[in-house]
Symmetry: C2
Subunit: 81 residues, 2 copies
């Protein structure tokens, strides 16, 4: 089983990395780009023999406790078979 | 219109960041985690008045030339309305 966790800055939080990418792209001549926000994701392989429920629970906990900083970031968990 | 670009290390390339996350998670007691690979993604807002074809072309070019390093990374482009 595989899980994917997406982590991005909350929409109310400034994203200086994304702003830098946008202004670099505009500077390179890509004027069709209005906004860029950057996030990260984690492709997680779950060990054999773990139930779907357990995997969901573990990955949710990991996303909340380790991979994201819930003060400034939001995350989304997807389970893939 | 929105586009999303996912960039991850090629599967043949070592991903030390992902390996570090996996070993940290295992160390914290999450033994159900077999492997972690880390990637990044970009949420891109396209300016009004750009056609879907033009946006697709621009974002493909940007992904290839700027956002990813095609020598060691692979990328995937999604257009979202």
């Amino acid at each position: 089983m595989k899980a994917r966790v997406f982590v991005s800055p909350k929409s109310t939080v400034l994203d200086p990395q994304g702003q830098t990418v946008r202004s670099a792209l505009n500077g390179l001549g890509y004027h069709s780009i209005a906004e860029v926000r950057q996030g990260k994701y984690f492709d997680i392989a779950i060990a054999e023999g773990v139930t779907r429920e357990q995997a969901q629970k573990d990955v949710e906990t990991i996303a909340h406790e380790v991979l994201a900083n819930p003060v400034i970031e939001e995350y989304r968990v997807e389970l893939v078979d």
